[in-house]
Symmetry: C2
Subunit: 456 residues, 2 copies
């Protein structure tokens, strides 16, 4: 509702086009007072005039007009209304709050559930629902609900590039009706969802949220970014979704008590989702590092230890085997392993090196650290780097320890292109790629904490 014959309008770009592009599994009825056509579909002047039944309504009209629409939805037998419109309780003004309450009143009486208001709704690839164009149809095992529309898009965009796929993403805004407890309950039971990610600014039903979290985390890892943890952030929240934010300490305690994992940015959320995607689940904190260059290895080791991973020395027999695989002088066969350029850029040798490290029983996981731009100093350039990536993927397929890749790139066009190519290669194999050892190590260390507390 709010469609028009202008294909560039906000409502059409955000809501009419994406489900068409994604192959929505039901019927789509654009509704707008202009009438006419859009993307080959007839525009109905009102909801009442739509011929068949309507389950789900997306509302993109001014706030003042929403109560009238809600009444029409009741009359039509609609089940769920997603309200994109803003201008409700988040304004902090009395009129906005009253309008929101009026809306909820009509919906409850008519047996309708509300998503929002002030949110962008649902992305469900398997059903062909989306809040954005050019988004993948591939479904995955991450369920994500976010109180911010921008942050739901930000994590989705970033995660898709990094090979993460979603079961469903829900942006839920002011949570006037359906709230954090309802969404958590859904994802907790949803068979498609194995990992749950949450961006939340404030809980409406704190106690129930806590007990449901406690019940969920033994089965599925839950990662939470809490917006407005600081004082000024809390003030910012009051202008955004109008939620009562609650301090950082409260949310730390909540995560500790429930076994949820706290992240501090969308980027860290993606890092953690990748850590929870590692196969097999990370058994412990002892990392074997396969690196290239002494300085990079030193830095990688510091990053691991600062994040809470251990970098134990390799036993003598492993060092002896490695020395056979890496006969060149000037390299270290201890942990971190400084594989020489001759080894790193020779895929079979690099594969063999990773295998030897992975087979070491002092090691729980392997971090393969690839400095992308260094590869460019070699005549074979990007090919040399992709050879390393493919060797690491191959190693992950044949060994029983989780392998995480780190691709350090300068951000130049050439390096960014190689990273994207590597992402595609690794996504197929389910091997995570991190932009730095420090990102990888922090996420993996938090991941092991989760598994440990689950075992306890």
């Amino acid at each position: 509702v709010g469609a028009s014959s202008d294909p560039t309008s906000l409502a059409n770009r955000n809501f009419t086009k994406p489900p068409i592009d994604l192959g929505y599994h039901g019927k789509i009825y654009p509704i707008g007072y202009t009438g006419g056509e859009i993307f080959g579909l007839k525009i109905y002047p009102s909801l009442g005039e739509v011929p068949g039944p309507v389950d789900h309504v997306i509302c993109s009209i001014p706030a003042e007009a929403t109560p009238q629409l809600m009444r029409e939805c009741v009359a039509k037998g609609v089940k769920v209304v997603h309200i994109f419109s803003s201008g409700f309780s988040e304004t902090g003004k009395e009129e906005g709050l009253q309008l929101e309450q009026e809306l909820v009143g009509i919906a409850r009486e008519g047996g309708i559930r509300i998503i929002g208001p002030n949110c962008i709704g649902i992305y469900c690839p398997s059903w062909g629902m989306a809040f954005a164009g050019s988004i993948t149809r591939e479904s995955g095992r991450v369920g994500y609900f976010s109180q911010s529309g921008g942050n739901s898009r930000e994590l989705t965009d970033m995660a898709l590039v990094r090979g993460i796929r979603f079961s469903k993403v829900i942006s839920f805004g002011n949570a006037a009706d359906l709230d954090e407890v309802d969404y958590l309950e859904y994802f907790s039971q949803d068979k498609e969802t194995e990992i749950i990610a949450i961006y939340i600014e404030g809980a409406k039903r704190g106690r129930e949220f806590l007990s449901l979290l406690k019940e969920t985390t033994p089965r599925k890892p839950v990662v939470i970014v809490k917006g407005g943890g600081t004082d000024a952030g809390e003030r910012a929240v009051s202008f955004h979704t109008g939620a009562l934010a609650g301090s950082d300490k409260v949310w730390d305690a909540l995560c500790r008590q429930t076994g949820a994992v706290r992240a501090y940015s969308m980027e860290e959320m993606a890092d953690l989702i990748l850590a929870f995607s590692l196969k097999p689940p990370i058994p412990g904190v002892r990392a074997g590092i396969v690196s290239l260059g002494g300085g990079a290895g030193v830095q990688a080791t510091d990053d691991c230890e600062r994040a809470g991973l251990l970098v134990p020395q390799f036993p003598t027999e492993i060092q002896r085997e490695l020395r056979k695989a890496i006969p060149q002088a000037g390299t270290s066969v201890s942990n971190p392993l400084d594989s020489s350029p001759f080894v790193a850029w020779d895929p079979p040798q690099f594969l063999e090196t990773i295998r030897i490290v992975a087979a070491c029983d002092q090691i729980d996981l392997v971090i393969v650290h690839i400095p992308v731009d260094l590869g460019f100093y070699r005549s074979s350039g990007p090919k040399a780097v992709m050879g390393q990536v493919k060797a690491a993927v191959k190693a992950s397929e044949t060994c029983d320890k989780p392998i995480a890749l780190v691709l350090r790139a300068s951000g130049s066009r050439q390096s960014s292109n190689v990273v994207l190519e590597a992402e595609r290669e690794c996504q197929r194999a389910g091997v995570p790629i991190y932009p730095s050892v420090s990102h990888a190590a922090s996420a993996i260390a938090k991941g092991t904490q989760y598994y440990r507390s689950r075992r306890d």
Copy 2:
């Protein structure tokens, strides 16, 4: 020395070609027993046979052969020898150590200074020296010396993409002769150098290094990444450059006592260099945030406060002015400012918004936060984002507060391309770009600490 007629050899790729590409300001004599030609230059079979005087020798031959070469250098009147070769004290073996001492003995007796061994030497764009191909000729104000060749390349590559330019970069490896004190002394006095960056694994002359740092920091900011601060990292260092690493605590104390700024990764080093490039120097910690989207603003505020910046509310008169510039509902005119899409993607309005925030006397600096991929949901796509970037650059030219840009990008090809275009735009204007608010805020907060301690 170590050149051959094979253009793909390591010595030629690393050392013969780069200065030719960069327009070296003197004569280049490739030397190698093969004779013949390389890149149009005659290869001399030995140093003695070079017709003119030789100031600087780059040595890329096996370690065992270096003492003989050093004697030839003495005979030829060479001033400096940069030894790329490894196989010296960093091996941890007695033979390696003895070879290094022999080399230093010959050099000292003959009045020669050594850079290295086990390092890639000098990048000096103004003189046309380089350790890598496809590197810019543009000179800058950052002097960088690094005990790791890989890390000297990594920071250089990454920093160049981010608009940072160098006076000189020196990779100095084992520091057998010239060491951290010599290089710091040089950069401390070098007129081209205004900011000093250091990657160090262990100090040979700790006391002198400390007192020289103390003397330098009141005039030039010094940023230090210490490799091997953790226990396992220290062990890794012993395999790399053979340095005695020293613990994290010792280096924390050193930085506190001397006013040097400590960073923990190459990326943070680049972040800090950009913070010290802000014009005018950051006067205080009160940040005004211009963002797009409520959730992004909330996150930006949390990131700032966690890093030690403040996000004070705007006074009523500023809010009133902003409300005039941003009449649309659903946006916040408090700090963080949630500029609506209508404002953000309209360059003159966006410029006006930044100007109003910058003029607020409760604010020391402005952080302009641009979610890149959000711009793509608009039909004008990349153009909308570049409009924001250009408005921010224009604002920085006309207002007297430092402005830092944050470009949040998913890493998709389209978003990476826009970031690169923005980097070029901003480099010309000297406006720094950060990949996240948390990167920007940490670097700026550390920067203000430096300026505060300098004032005290």
